[in-house]
Amino acid sequence: MGTSETDLSRRRALTQLVAGSVGVISMPVWVDSLCAQARAEAHTHVVQDAASSAAWTPSVLTPHQNDAIVALTELIIPATDTPGAKAALVNRFVDHVLSTADANERTEFIRGLTWLDDRCRARVGKDVAGASTAELTTVLTPLAAEGTPAAADAPGVAFFRAIKSMTITGYYTTEIGLRQELGDDGRMMLGTFEGCTHPEHQ
């Protein structure tokens, strides 16, 4: 039995999360690990947004990949009566998470995105960034389905799971997601804590 040095420099908070974040379908390790990384980074992603200007450029994604991520995040959490992921700049969050991720996870993620671009071109004749919402929906619906994916779809299923989780984490920690959409009152200083006052819950 050998010994190993534990590297928790980045993973300190993630080890346990990964164990608890396994989905119904068994996913490659990189998916859960990257989603956990997104959750750990959820409160710092505004580093990128701090500029919050048109001058922002992605640090990991190419401009083409960034356009695809904008389209995918908005497809997952679209504008409805409240703004969606595009307005909340979730693409910048995704880029930031990738910049903090392990090289292997970054590679797998980009590989998945490339796979999806290829699939998109094969099915609707356009890449992700160029496809319409209806076309993207057609391509992604089988990849988002529950149950065991067809072997040929596996890379896309894993990638979609990762981008969906990262989008949700990113969106609902912005003011748009948390206050406007979910209705959180944002108060961080209360004099008293009322708790549940509903007679039907007592």
Partner: protein, 550 residues
């Protein structure tokens, strides 16, 4: 002629400034005893905490180049070793106050069910103290640090007389509480060191729920805020920061003469001399220091003729179950941040008639229903099928309905679960690294089954749905951050390292006052007991000094 000034000999050297060491320094200095306190880090700056900052306001701060305080020791700076196939997630905080800067604050008294467990079931050794020995110290500590809780005492959780009012349960906690009532499973108000009343000049909790980032108003107990400043005010405390203790030095008679440490900024070796050493560097780091303190009189590590030091590591097992309550779906979003954790607690019940199973010891559980964060229950939102507007709608409906259940269970002490030091692998100061070899056994697996049955029964009765739940999938070993047992107290010097007053059987002028002194892990969170034991041990030490015995 050159005059050589002999080095100063301090009455007491304390190592570590967290719950155990901070308490020791505070209690000794207020009794007039001069102390030099070594801490491996610096003071954390409360003005840099982002306690009351919602996620979206971090933007402006980061734009100004500000960063939140980070508490945790990086493994790149200070590595540790584990067996290849047995990972252990060790959390260390080097800095004033140690882990009390970010602790979970759950404050549960042990009872004689815990202290006398081994007398009943015969597994390893019992504590050398009873509840009545420590109860007066629990009373004092609760008044000092401000613990909230109910008046719902039991044989498992005694002594509520000094508790501050508990926060009301949230909706989901109410529903789970009702379900537990139907099942005759005990449930009480949580007991937590968030001050719900102003205490000793510190303001009450503001219910931001962000305690894990440190409290910028010092409204929960942290040694750096609630003990060290008062100890410094006595004029009897010298606090040396960035002093990484490596070894306790001994003389020819085998007694401690001082401490060797390294300056964390410069790496230079330093020594400090003292008549007594009080070790409170946390279970794992105190054990490392003792095992590295080898000498001809102590070839197996300081005070380790019994070979118990490093053995019997017991760290609690923990399950995490998350889900939602359909009854709360679609209800208006509430501000459920609260005191940053559970508002209700399930005390151990498997000792009750007809409730036992085929394993030893027990477990309790915390129940949360809270906005929490994306590491918590809401992390389940990505399990909702589909994408698009329907997904967005469903996430909103479920937002108020998430809950978490966290059972903590006692892991038995086993001689083979141990911390050692590896002379071939050293840190940047040349000090041997610690090696943790830890795994759980059949008793813990049977307990895990009972935990899972209990969770499933409660959730079913509450009409809840578990999400991402894998039965029996325990947290990574080490995740409870409740390490115990590696320098245990006991009546028999052959089977224990410390007396009932935390004094080493073999080295009379060394006291070990942190979690390593616990003979058993129990299912309860340890800090309240660490504070009480350290207070009690240093009362004894102060008497011994005044009697001229040390």
């Amino acid at each position: 002629m050159q005059v050589i000034t002999p080095p100063k000999v301090y009455p007491v050297i304390v190592i570590g400034s967290g719950a155990s060491g901070g308490m020791a320094a505070w209690n000794l200095t207020r009794q007039g005893i001069e102390v030099v306190l070594l801490d491996a880090g610096d003071k954390f700056d409360r003005s840099k905490y982002w306690t009351h900052v919602p996620p979206w306001e971090t933007q402006a701060r980061l734009a100004r180049g500000e960063k939140p305080e980070t508490f945790f020791l990086d493994t790149k700076e200070q590595p540790y070793l584990t067996a290849n196939d047995r990972p252990f997630a060790l959390t260390r905080v080097w800095g004033h106050g140690g882990k009390t800067n970010v602790w979970g604050r759950v404050s549960l008294r042990l009872s004689d069910i815990d202290f006398k467990a081994a007398d009943r079931d015969g597994w390893e050794i019992s504590w050398p103290i009873s509840y009545k020995d420590i109860a007066p110290y629990y009373d004092q500590v609760e008044q000092l640090i401000g613990v909230n809780g109910g008046t719902d005492d039991s044989d498992v959780l005694p002594g509520s007389k000094y508790l501050q009012p508990p926060p009301a349960p949230r909706c989901g906690e109410r529903l789970l509480q009702k379900a537990m009532g139907k099942l005759n499973i005990p449930v009480v108000a949580g007991r937590r060191a968030n001050m719900t009343r102003p205490t000793r000049g510190f303001p009450a909790c503001h219910y931001c729920g962000n305690c894990g980032n440190g409290c910028d108003t010092a409204s929960f107990f942290c040694s750096a805020d609630h003990l060290l400043p008062f100890a410094l005010q006595t004029g009897k405390l010298e606090l040396r920061s960035n002093a990484v203790a490596a070894r306790i030095l001994t003389g020819e008679n085998g007694l401690a003469t001082g401490v060797q440490y390294f300056d964390r900024r410069t790496g230079t070796e330093q020594q400090v001399r003292g008549k007594v050493v009080v070790l409170g560097a946390s279970c794992v780091d105190s054990t490392r220091i003792l095992l590295n303190s080898k000498s001809s009189r102590h070839p197996n590590g300081l005070g380790n003729g019994s070979d118990v030091i490093g053995r019997y590591l017991c760290e609690q097992i923990r399950l995490n179950a998350r889900g939602y309550l359909p009854a709360l779906e679609g209800t208006p979003t509430r501000n459920d941040r609260g005191i940053g954790g559970e508002h209700i607690y399930m005390p151990r019940f498997n000792h009750r008639p007809g409730r036992g199973r085929d394993y030893l010891r027990g477990f309790g559980a915390q129940f949360w229903n809270t906005w929490s964060n994306w590491n918590g229950p809401q992390g389940g939102s990505d399990q909702i099928p589909g994408f698009g507007a329907s997904l967005k709608k469903q996430i909103k409906r479920r937002h108020p309905a998430w809950f978490e259940i966290h059972p903590f269970g006692e892991a038995l002490p086993y001689a083979h679960n141990r911390i050692t030091v590896d002379p071939k692998r050293v840190d940047k100061y040349g000090v041997p690294l610690l090696h943790i070899d830890y795994h759980i056994g059949e008793n813990e697996r049977k307990m895990t089954e009972h935990m899972a049955d209990t969770i499933e029964e409660i959730v079913k009765a509450a009409g809840g749905v578990l999400v991402n739940y894998k039965r029996g999938d325990l947290d990574a070993m080490g995740s409870a951050i409740h390490e115990h047992g590696t320098c245990r107290m006991g009546m028999d010097p052959k089977r224990s390292a410390l007396t009932a007053f935390n004094q080493m059987h073999e080295v009379k002028n060394v006291f070990v006052v942190d979690g390593s002194a616990f003979p058993t892990a129990t299912e309860k969170n340890p800090t309240l007991t660490i504070l009480s034991l350290s207070w009690r041990a240093t009362d004894y030490l102060a008497q011994e000094i005044k009697r001229g015995n040390l």
